[in-house]
Amino acid sequence: MRFHTLRVDGFGRLADRTFTFGPGLNVVVGPNEAGKTTLAAALVASLYGLQRGEKDRWRPWTGGAYATVLAYETADGARWEVHRAFERDTKGVRVYDAGGADAAARIGNGKTLSPGDAQLGISLDVFAQTAYARQRAIGLDGASAGDVSTALAHALDGGPKEDAALGALARLDDALRKHVGTERAHKNAPLRALRDECQRHRRAADDARSAVDALAALRVKIGNARADRDRDAAATVELERGVRSLRAARLAARLSALAECRDELASVHSEREAFDDVQDFAAERVTALDDAYHSWRSAESVAEAAAAALAEERLTAAESAELDERAADAGMFDDDAFDALRAAAAQADGARARAAGAAHDAAGARHDLEGGRAPAGIVLVFALVALIVDIAFAIAHEWLWSAFASVFAIGFGGAAFMRGSAHADRRKEAEAKQRTADAALSDEQRSAAVVAAVLEPLGLATLDELVRRRERYTALRARERAALKAEARGQTAQAAVGAEAERFDALADALVSDVAADRAVRRAAAQLRAARRRQRDGLDARLAMLTLRRGDILQGDDDFALQAEYDALLAEGVVPAPQDDSQLLRALERERAELDERARESEKSLATLEGALRAGEANVPDVAQLDEAVAQTQAEINALEAFERAVKLARRIIDARKEEAHRAFARRLEEYSAGVLGAISGGRYREIWVDPATLEINVRVPETGAIEVLDALSAGTRDQIALVVRFATARMFAEGLETPPVLLDDPFAYWDADRVARCLPALFHGALGAQCILFTASTVLAGAAVASGATRIELEPAAVLC
């Protein structure tokens, strides 16, 4: 692409001005604030339109029309004009071809019309990063590296004008997100949702199958329950037959027993009639009558015994006289006095005995005393002799014999001493015993005197006589008292006899009033009647027992009803059992009751099961439909998974090929740059590497041989190299796309003259392949450029609004 003219009606400080550009290098020279940047911006805006936020920035200062017209030519020789009315934004752009025809349909893209995008094939951002270098922004912005590298790859690809790999990758990613979902997504995860749905369908199908199977099992259970019920029903029928047979036998036995009972009752009634005469006899009173009789008879015996006792106990005349005599002597002592007297006598006897003993002891002691003197004297003599011998031996200096004699002397001396002591003790003892004897004798004498004082007035010699007389007195007196008691008892007994007789007579009058005889006879009569009454009572008891027995047999039933039941059973053809076995009957009835209970439970259980079956069968799920839902969902999953695999495969290969393409263009960029770089750097930098993804530039520093990133070099060197890369980029765009014009807005403002001088060849070289418009304030640079054939465009102050 090559700009021909730009007419500016109004754009920033520029108004009503037309600029004409030549091929190759153009130099727009003007002082600062002359509008160089404005002109560059107007060129870019004419191609691409204004970016968001720039509309007010470039609004014409004059307030006039905000418009430009750019005439340019593409590489194929076609000429175009872009008319921009910036006030109307995207609606204010028209593109005409050389014939004046509206070219919107040819180069528009839907609703947008951007000659820069359509004809250069690169976005504004890529243009700005590659073809449009601003002051102090010669280096490529890393943030835009991706777009630039994509555009470069696109250019080198020579491919279609559609989006390149990045766009394709983005669409593939979008498709995956939309149709498959991502692993982390909680919402909008279609594949996961499908899998969950499939799982639900599967569970529902399994549950449905289980429900159907459960119904089948329930049917089997119902069948078994019915079989059990029928079996129990058959057993019940059989059991009932047995029960009825036994019941018939039981009824027969009862009826037979009832008949027996009935006969026996009649017999007893008949027998009882013979005792009607004693029907009202109070037999229970006969016992009292007997008691009264026995009491009367006992009383009589007692009275007789009392009389006999009286006769026995009564004192004779002689005994009475004796009693009087004894009362005068032995009777005068009361018991206490008599006991004292006897005690005194005993004491005297005791004293006597003690005195005798003491006298004997004293005699003995005196005897010992006399006898002990002689042995003591003898021992003393021996002791004296031993002593004398001892002295003799000592004088004779026979010490051994002296020692022996000493021993004997000491021994005999000691013995004599001991005997002397013993003799003294014996004397003392003898004297004590003599004193004791004397005391005992005194006691005896005192006691004897007391006794004598009592006996002598009575003319008794001994106490024993007194004792004998007292005993006799006591006995006679006891007899006298006994006789009195016997007499009293006799009287009492007589009274009792009379009372009992009266009692008996009263009872006998009540019971046997018609019997006039003695009591024994009357009693016997009463007893006879009582016995007959008992007989009658016995018959009554038999009757009661028979009645009870009948009641037991009937057990509350009516005998006619029993007979009727029995007849009914026979009429039904029931054969009574051979014998009545109530135990077996009860057992069978229990068993039947259990069977009945079981049958009821079975019916209840069966009803419940059948109800459950009906309910279950009313809600049978459609298993086939559920299985189909599972299969269909699974098929959808399979399709989505295949889609996912295919998209990921496509993505992987596109990505790999993209990387490969980027690596390729990076090499080309390096090749382009290396040649020019060496020239403009004075040979310093000849090797350059460009990262295809980030477009980061690395160069080898000749001094160190190290590879340094561009940012590590000086600003001037950095700009130099960046400029070279920009030109290389523009050349690469030329290969596959339209070559963009390169706009350099005073890139050398801060370079020294030497560097600028070295850069000029690069400029000219670069401008060989692309139209280059250099905006500069440097008249020297402008002059040098013009001298080399560049087109000069002056930005006079007169073109600038003050």
Binding site: A153, H154, D157, G158, G159, P160, E162, D163, A164, A165, G167, A168, L169, R171, L172, D174, A175, H179, R209, V212, D213, L215, A216, A217, R219, V220, G223, R226, E617, V620, V623, A624, Q625, D627, E628, V630, A631, Q632, A635, A639, L640, A642, F643, R645, A646, V647, L649, A650, I653, I654, R657, K658, E660, A661
Partner: protein, 367 residues
């Protein structure tokens, strides 16, 4: 010589099958039930002396009470003796429909994996062999049928000589085994395509009626029932077609279709001969113009109304992959790589080609 004995024999009705290959399962299940009704109608029409069922009357995993009531109603409607040899899909067990106590009295089920004889007529005996849940082995191994008159074996199993390659044989047997057992002919079930196997003398030795309605795509052979006529020693087999539904696999070429409208038009023309009893799997093939939309949901919506069911598989090619593969750009190299993978059997590569071209073209990507 007594009167000839007529038997109507069917098998593989597969009531309550789940049709997973295609939608419209409910309609097809209804069609299976209708077919069984037609079998019973045939038996009544031909005044058959017996109705035999060679297994797989229903799907045990899915059949419930209403299936039982339907089957029993039909069998009771026939009224005559019904002999059933359960198959591997409806084996006899306490839970089987055959074990229900409301089974009609005229139905006899061969409940064991062993031969039992049923005297249908003084000179016609049917020996039946039933499947239980476990694999029954070779039914005719050691079998000896020796009752006088004509002996027919009723069994569900695989004729080994006709077993499709790769398919597992169930209760396998051979015609030689049938002959060795003493049976005059075996009335079988298991293969859904009906056929009769005859010996060198032309005598029918083995007959499959086929399923009354097709169950799976690709089934070849007759679909209906057999009318078996026994007259003396002769056993005649007549196949009676009963199927009304068709399962059809159809390839429709969309070559050069440049628009969705064209695609729809081609399909409507292709599907025009088919009707409500046809269940189709349509494979769209050919090369369509780039960007041409093939919306399966729209196609199904437009075309399914007159059909039993329609399943579409889009195998169209949206671009000249070979030409794209020659492009010296990322797209070209990618397509070349994928073509190579596809040629080596990578199934994902075929889909990846479509999506690659669509992604570069900015078209919407859909599964």
């Amino acid at each position: 010589m007594g009167e000839a004995t007529t038997i109507v024999h069917c098998a593989d009705v597969h009531l309550e099958t789940a049709f997973t290959e295609l939608r419209g399962g409910a309609r097809r299940r209804a069609a299976l039930a209708d077919a069984f009704v037609r079998v019973v109608d045939l038996a009544l029409e031909r005044r058959a002396d017996a109705l035999t069922v060679g297994g797989d009357l229903y799907e045990a995993q899915r059949a419930g009470p209403q299936t039982a009531r339907f089957i029993f109603e039909q069998l009771a409607r026939f009224g005559g003796p019904v002999l059933i040899a359960p198959g591997n899909h409806d084996p006899y067990s306490t839970h089987a429909l055959y074990a229900r106590d409301d089974r009609p009295a005229n139905v006899r089920v061969f409940a064991e994996p062993a031969w039992s004889a049923h005297a249908l007529a003084p000179d016609v005996t049917i020996y039946g062999f039933g499947h239980a849940p476990a694999e029954p082995g070779r039914p005719f191994a050691g079998a000896r049928f020796d009752r006088p008159g004509t002996r027919l074996a009723l069994v569900h199993g695989s004729d080994e000589d006709r077993c499709p390659p790769g398919k597992r044989a169930t209760a396998p047997f051979t015609v030689a085994e049938i002959v060795a057992s003493g049976a005059d002919c075996a009335l079988a079930g298991h293969y859904h395509g009906g056929a009769t196997v005859r010996d060198e003398q032309g005598k029918a030795r083995l007959a499959y009626p086929g399923s009354p309605e097709p169950v799976k795509f690709g089934e070849r052979g007759a679909h209906g029932a057999l009318v078996v006529t026994i007259d003396g020693d002769a056993v005649e087999i007549e196949h009676v077609e009963l199927a009304r539904t068709r399962l059809i696999d159809l390839d429709v070429s969309l070559d050069d279709a440049a628009s969705e409208h064209a695609v729809l038009a081609v399909l409507e023309r292709a599907l025009q001969p088919y009707g409500r009893d046809d269940f189709l799997r349509v494979r769209l093939c050919g090369t369509i113009a780039p960007g041409t939309r093939v919306d399966r949901e729209l196609i199904a919506d437009r075309c399914v109304a007159g059909l039993g069911a329609l399943e579409l598989h889009d195998a169209t090619v949206a671009a000249d992959y070979a030409a794209i593969a020659r492009e010296p750009n990322v797209r070209g190299r990618t397509v070349a790589d994928l073509l190579e993978l596809a040629a080596n059997g990578d199934e994902d590569a075929t889909g990846a080609l479509r999506y690659t071209v669509a992604a570069f073209a900015g078209a919407e990507l859909k599964p």
